[in-house]
């Protein structure tokens, strides 16, 4: 169903939480008024362009900058040697740090400009600064780099085989880490006891995030004050400030990182890249503003990739169809270097989700991280959780088939039961709350499932192939309790900070350390704060994304903003109300314990006519003419909110597709998304997040994939070659919700940004294999292009002697 938007003027503060009000971000965005990074023009601004490796793996013999330096408008050309010079800013080694450590991690050097070697196509070798944008690009093209080419490897299994060329001297056999979770022995025993097992081998392909706005940065150094301002496409300005400060040696308190309007991220703007850091370094070197904006080709070559798993997995069942064990072995492609959060993605964000929605008594996961000659691989929408859900839900399909059970009913019998929450899995997490049957039931209703199976049968008789696929996904978000994150290797706390400030006139500014880039935080956070303080929504302004304005912050990723940032705002607002209550009691000549607060009014309990509004209290707090003894003037509060646990959204997505075995084409008949993301602050925005997430999942299932040749050359380096789904490629989505509040946070929210992307791919693959069951096709790798589908049908037909499924001899093939 489509949720109708609501005019915020029609909603009171008491009712605004949960209201589908229109976004306040939109007027600037629909009129061209919004300012993105590349829109910023500063006086005397120079432009930077990056000279990048043409090859996937090579030693650099020489970099000749003389021709470039002589060109019109060129200010300077710089290589790694220039970074290390004594008369240029900062001190060696100019390496990008990794923000998540594992005990077995090979923490290799990641120089911001190549130090004698390049390890992926696009690796930065030199930078050119010129007066104008085109001049910088021209001069970058004139830098002459001599290479000695080396063998490249792009596949993690090949990289780890022992036969591949090693990327880093201190990472033997290209092993980045070796990691496991769960109980190997107990799981082996479960498989020995099993009466049925099923297994799968699959690839979760590399994908390119493709935020519509390319990465960009403008740096402006002020030598008089030693202040360095960096405006950049960031999902987490405070984190970027901290990391950048270390790399270029500029003090954190004199570095301002501001994210202007940011045109999407999906993870790609979390990470700390070389380019933005180099812009800052150039501005400091040249004492003038410098801008760099990635071309789309550069985003394809340098934005951190997502996914990239090779996996074997198996599942064990008892006679009744209860799952008793699950075992997974994955080789994760980490690319050429360790990106900011890369080690966490295929480990703690993947292995901890291998229980899915199911009560599985024994699980073991083993992951080997591999260095390869592709760009660094890091968090992309979902980050580890889509890969886990893909494995679990593909296996559940195989298992149901093995048991001869309906895939929906097989899942249902294995769900963690409602009464088991909080539920501790065998992979180190405790699910907060869940009612897993509800979304499943709703999805079955929306699909008209009983009727579908009849229709499927009839269609097959007519030579048409319909299939249904389920995905009962679980997601961990609201990253995270800091103590736990620290135990797992995070080099940062994962709290969130906010400041709620009343102005003397009674209006409010709330500052939060998250950094939205399309999620509508200015709207939803104002809903939260208006509701807590009982003031008009229009009286609340939200500020995000600027280290100079916001005390601290950890940023927006991992679907954490509402659960952690929103909760921090509640905490700050409640502190403000507590102080205001004291002032109100003083003014009403009552004991604070006798003063109640409702809808923005403080009232004496039992004497409702004696009251004062919180906005009047704010005025008094700043006048400070008559304050309670020992109370400071002013009315504002800061808080750091550290969650007790992750939150665990869940849901059931299901697709009905029709597959043409003659052409390999897949058509959606229906896509159903039933999600439980806890309480919803703004259902319209929730729905939009689901839509967008599903579209990216559809992209991965059917269209997208980063392809490299044997030399590490990107073959899908433009929007012509890499298929970002268009409007006609994405199905109409039928969305619905159930609501199971999280008990961990004051809003009862879970998180919604990644749900659709986590859920969709396996729903679609399961639907396609269901459709092609008569041909014995039970797996097709993503993206399921018509060619791959056709080849799968063709291969199965050949394998079993070319039986036509319509002649009644098809037996489901070999599985």
């Amino acid at each position: 169903m489509t949720i109708e938007s609501v005019d915020p003027d029609d909603v009171t503060a008491a009712d605004i939480l949960g209201s589908a009000i229109e976004r306040r971000e939109d007027p600037a965005l629909i009129t061209g008024d919004a300012e993105y990074t590349d829109d910023i023009q500063l006086a005397d601004m120079a432009h930077m362009s990056v000279v990048r490796s043409q090859y996937g793996h090579a030693r650099i013999e020489d970099v000749d900058t003389s021709e470039a330096e002589a060109m019109d408008g060129v200010v300077g050309v710089y290589t790694h040697d220039d970074l290390a010079r004594e008369d240029t800013p900062g001190e060696a080694p100019f390496n990008l740090p990794v923000g998540w450590l594992l005990p077995s991690l090979n923490d290799v050097d990641h120089p911001i400009l190549a130090d004698g070697k390049v390890r992926y196509q696009g690796d930065a070798i030199a930078i050119v600064v010129a007066e104008q944008r085109y001049q910088a690009a021209d001069a970058a093209g004139a830098v002459d780099v001599s290479y000695e080419r080396l063998d490249a490897v792009t596949d993690p299994d090949e990289a780890l085989s022992g036969d591949a060329r090693q990327l880093h001297a201190d990472a033997d056999d290209n092993v980045a880490f070796d990691w496991e979770i769960g109980d190997a022995e107990k799981t082996a025993a479960a498989f020995e006891d099993a009466s049925h097992t099923a297994s799968i081998e699959l690839t979760n392909q590399l994908v390119i995030p493709n935020a519509m706005e390319p990465r960009a940065a403008v740096a402006d150094y002020h030598p008089g004050t030693d202040e360095l301002e960096v405006f950049m496409t960031s999902q987490n300005p405070h984190l970027h400030r901290l990391l950048m400060s270390g790399v270029i040696g500029h003090p954190e308190h004199k570095l301002r990182v501001k994210a202007p309007e940011v045109g999407g991220g999906f993870g790609s703007k979390i990470h700390h890249y070389a380019d933005e850091t180099l812009v800052a370094w150039c501005s400091k070197l040249l004492d003038r503003p410098v801008k760099w904006t990635a071309t789309r080709s550069e985003t394809y070559q340098t934005d951190a990739l997502g996914r990239g798993h090779e996996t074997e997995a198996e599942i064990a069942m008892d006679d009744d169809g209860d799952v008793i064990g699950l075992r997974v072995d994955t080789r994760a492609n980490l690319g050429a270097y360790l990106s900011t959060f890369a080690p966490a993605v295929p480990t703690y964000l993947y292995g901890t989700l291998l229980s899915g929605q199911y009560d599985i008594p024994a699980i073991h996961g083993h992951v080997t991280g591999a260095f390869t000659n592709v760009p660094p691989v890091d968090a992309y929408r979902g980050a580890g959780r889509p890969e886990a859900s893909f494995v679990v839900e593909r296996l559940m399909n195989r298992a149901a088939h093995e048991m001869g059970m309906d895939p929906a009913e097989f899942r249902r019998r294995n769900f963690v039961p409602d009464e088991a929450f909080p539920y501790e899995t065998q992979v180190a997490v405790v699910y907060d709350s869940g009612e897993y049957e509800k979304p499943m039931d709703e999805a079955l209703d929306l699909l008209d499932y009983e009727d579908f199976r009849d229709r499927q049968k009839e269609a097959r008789e007519e030579g048409r192939y319909l299939g249904v696929g389920f995905s009962c996904y679980i997601e961990a978000c609201g990253l995270a309790p800091s103590e736990l994150a620290g135990q797992l290797g995070a080099q940062a706390g994962l709290w969130e900070s906010s400041l709620v400030r009343f102005h003397p006139s009674g209006t409010v500014t709330a500052f939060c350390g998250t950094s939205g880039h399309g999620q509508g935080h200015a709207t939803t956070y104002a809903q939260i704060v208006a509701n807590e303080l009982g003031v008009d929504y229009d009286d609340v302004e939200i500020v995000e994304g600027d280290t100079d304005e916001i005390p601290h912050g950890m940023g927006t990723y991992g679907s954490r903003s509402a659960a952690v940032g929103g909760s921090s705002l509640v905490k700050s607002a409640r502190k403000v109300v507590d102080k205001a209550r004291e002032i109100a009691a003083h003014s009403l000549e009552a004991d604070p314990d006798d003063v109640e607060f409702e809808n923005g009014e403080f009232r004496i309990v039992g004497a409702p006519d004696r009251s004062i509004g919180i906005q009047s209290v704010a005025e008094q707090a700043y006048l400070a003419h008559d304050m309670p003894d020992d109370m400071e003037p002013g009315l504002e509060a800061t808080s750091f909110y550290d969650p007790d646990n992750f939150v665990f959204p869940f849901g059931t997505h299901a697709a009905i597709v029709e597959v043409d075995p003659e052409t390999g084409e897949i058509e959606f008949e229906k896509y159903v998304a039933v999600d439980d993301v806890g309480n919803q602050i703004n259902p319209k925005i929730v729905e939009g997040q689901i839509h967008g997430g599903v579209a990216q999942g559809v992209g991965q299932a059917l269209y997208e994939g980063a392809e490299y040749d044997d030399n590490g050359t990107l073959l899908t380096g433009s929007m012509q070659d890499y298929a970002v789904p268009k409007a006609e490629h994405v199905p109409e989505m039928d969305t619905a919700s159930t609501v199971t509040p999280s008990p961990h946070n004051p809003l009862g929210v879970k998180g919604v940004g990644e749900a659709g992307t986590i859920a969709a791919p396996q729903a679609i693959v399961n639907a396609v294999t269901d459709a092609l069951e008569p041909f014995g096709v039970d797996h097709i790798e993503m993206p399921m292009t018509p060619e791959r589908v056709w080849r799968a049908v063709d291969a199965s037909a050949t394998a079993d002697g070319g039986h036509d499924p319509e002649d009644g001899t098809a037996d489901g093939g070999d599985r």
Binding site: T2, S5, E22, R23, E25, D26, P27, A28, L29, I30, T31, G32, D33, A34, E35, Y36, D38, D39, Q41, R133, Y134, N210, A211, M212, E213, P214, E261, V262, G263, G264, F266, T295, R296, H517, G518, Q519, G520, K684, I685, E687, G688, H691, G692, G693, V694, A695, Q696, S718, M719, Q720, V724, K726, A727, E728, V730, E732, M733, G756
Partner: protein
Amino acid sequence: MTEHDITLTVNGTEHDLTVEARTLLAHALRDELGYTGTNIGCESSLCGACTVHLDGEAVKSCTALAVQADGAEIRTVEGLADGDELHAIQRAFQEEHGLQCGYCTPGMMMTSVELLKENPNPTREEIREGLEGNLCRCTGYQNIVNAVENAAESLRSGAVADGGTVADDPTADDPTTTDGGESK
């Protein structure tokens, strides 16, 4: 590099400027004239973020040269609204939550306006086909399709006081209204 003196009329305001032969229209609009509402996403005509109207037709300004637009009337997202009165397509995008990060939105709206000029009552499928040259990575397109339907209905019913001039010629714009450009 050869330079050319050209005249661009943007949202009703005439601008004289000197550009290199290779200067892209998108860069002339953004960097030279300050119409930064037109975004650049791919420099290759594939994403549509930079779509503007050139003499009434939707074109991708990242692959048109500024010199090709010499003497032309250009309408950008800054020229969609009539003063404070939003165009029907702008209102519809807001009402239907047809945007998230907003980066593709100017181009998406400019294409939609042309689409509705050609076909005032499109089916959902026709809308999806009509938007094939514009990519959005945030919304999953469903609410964009809703927005275009919504705007089509508003425009057909004439409910929109003045924004109903989808087919209008940018020369008809009141040159005294703010045109979104920044003086350099």
